[in-house]
Subunit: 360 residues, 2 copies
């Protein structure tokens, strides 16, 4: 087992990465301060791992909420269901929430923990590659609004993250690929060496080779933790983690949440970011092609769906929260491994990018 | 104009107290960082003060949301309306929310500011005595859940509070009295001198004498600010501010939100706290009687409604968030001006108190 620490003064917390972690009681016991636990999970994950987690929590009163599975349920209405469960079961301020599932469960449970009685403890057990490498690190919690993704939320840190690689064995191929999109992101945005390692290892990653997956998760979490430590509330450098996300959110939201996986949308968004950077004369055609090739090897899409017109994409992006004072800001690349947040690009080139990176 | 400061390191903010403040542009301009403002108010307050506030905001793009008036609208559903307005009007992270109204508007707008895009600026303009003396200080924001009051919320500080005493001229007598309940609370919980000043001044307070009101607001805000500075997130001494509130919340929730005013319920709750303290042998019969007399002079109720049985009150209080690990904890008095948070009382005496302090 590897242990990383996200350094955030009194809000610092460990990330445990390894195999057979779900059943290790001592990992939970170290981080639960009260006697009550509420496990929040969904109908897909519950039959696979709920029993194992409950068996490890012998020292506590354990309650559970099993939600429907899918991004389309990441809403204020589902948050209300968690709140109702907390209150009906009479769980008080000393309760610890455990998020058992992917990014949707993690984001929503984290936000529920941030809001319930103005803040209670929570633990993340991410069970998808996407949530292990990304959404479990950094304390961003939220639900979606019909008019925009993650528009209602809080910065709120877990007490610990338990990333058990064995849970990836039950993940389908499409979900695994979606997680790899975020792994690829960490290479492009600030770590060229890691990008090159991925070019060499993509076959092993797709083949679920444990050592390769373990290193990819560790490296991604560490890179993200380093950024979050510098800028917890995203007033500066943390915004770079949104590489591909402004484009990606528009695709997710335009298609209706749950139709495209987050990682798939981000994959296309990264291609768009590279394309716009190339058109702006900042990166070479070769760099863009290397990114496209790696994304294709990860079995991810590289073009936006034909259903979304260029006008619709522009419209959707202008409500994305990365827009500041009316201008759409993007994370663009100077090279593979070096990115900047900017609104200093030619708007005509943006239209060209949206046109070129769209299925016809 | 008086200026108090709530000292909370980088979250410190001023409270301006005085007359004719709503129209003073410079008070707003000092605290608004972007160019966009959303005023959140209700159907009662909008016709009275919205125009004055908008006229002072000439330097900004001003949008507005006018909500229905009443505690029964302090819900996740109404929060969703504010979020929809923010997104439909394309307001971004640089927006400042202005809460123009009483405690319900303040709590809900503050929570909306805490959650929108994970946190934007907000300014409080409390227009009731209750919100001027209490809910505008300390950063507690929340909405209610059908199973409990203020169960969903955040600790989130405003950029400033503008308490314009002139707005109290349009407040009805019942609302004025409800505000006085919290003023009385500050005397009982930690400031015997202030309690005695109120005994001498209650006639002037009920008569809306500006100097008396101004001093009462100032003193209450300062007393609260002193407590909040010591304990922002209520892990210790701040809990004393809940004097009368565990009982009071049960009355509000049991009767259905909006049926009893918060201040009225807290008034009864303070009588119950004194009664239980007296039965426990901690305060004298005379002290309890002085509190009852002052509450009566403020035209406030001193007994719970007959509709709520003792069993129902006990049941309602056990889900209140002041319950810890199953035991109901109360703020009880050692004397007027000295209170403690405790679960160390005889449960039979609690039943006696609930029986004695109930209308028959």
């Amino acid at each position: 087992m590897k242990t990383l620490t996200v350094e955030l003064a009194e809000r610092s917390y460990p990330i445990y990465i390894g195999q057979e972690l779900l059943s290790r009681s001592e990992l939970y016991n170290k981080h639960i301060r009260g006697k009550q636990v509420l496990i929040v999970t969904n109908t897909t994950v519950a039959p696979l791992y709920l029993e194992t987690v409950e068996a490890a929590l012998t020292d506590y009163t354990v309650e559970r909420v099993i939600l429907p599975d899918g991004e389309e349920y990441k809403t204020l209405q589902t948050l209300d269901l968690i709140m109702t469960a907390l209150l009906e079961k009479r769980l008080d301020r000393s309760v610890t929430l455990i998020a058992l599932g992917g990014g949707v469960i993690g984001d929503m449970t984290g936000f529920a923990a941030a809001c319930y009685q103005r803040g209670v403890d929570f633990i993340q057990i991410p069970t998808t590659l996407l949530s292990q490498v990304d959404s479990s690190v950094g304390g961003k919690t939220a639900v979606n609004h019909p008019l925009g993704k993650n528009m209602i939320g809080a910065f709120y840190q877990p007490r610990c993250v338990i990333a058990d690689i064995d849970t990836l064995n039950t993940l389908d191929d499409q979900q695994l690929s979606a997680g790899l999109a975020e792994v690829i992101k960490y290479g492009i945005l600030g770590n060229r060496t890691f990008f090159e390692w991925q070019e060499a290892q993509m076959k092993n990653l797709i083949g679920r080779e444990p050592d390769a997956l373990s290193y990819a998760i560790e490296r991604s979490c560490q890179d993200k933790a380093d950024v979050v430590t510098q800028d917890e509330r995203e007033s500066g450098v943390r915004a770079l983690l949104n590489l591909g996300h402004t484009f990606g959110h528009a695709i997710e939201s335009g298609m209706g949440y749950g139709q495209w996986l987050h990682g798939e949308a981000v994959a296309v968004g990264m291609v768009m970011a590279m394309d716009l950077s190339e058109r702006s004369g900042w990166v070479t055609k070769e760099d863009t092609q290397r990114v496209i090739t790696l994304i294709e090897q990860a079995n991810l899409p590289t073009k936006a769906p034909a259903e979304l017109s260029v006008e619709r994409m522009l419209d959707l992006m202008s409500v994305d929260k990365k827009a500041s004072q009316g201008m759409i800001r993007f994370v663009l690349a100077k090279s593979i491994g070096e990115t900047v947040m900017t609104s200093n690009y030619d708007k005509n080139l943006l239209v060209e990018t949206l046109t070129a990176c769209r299925q016809t």
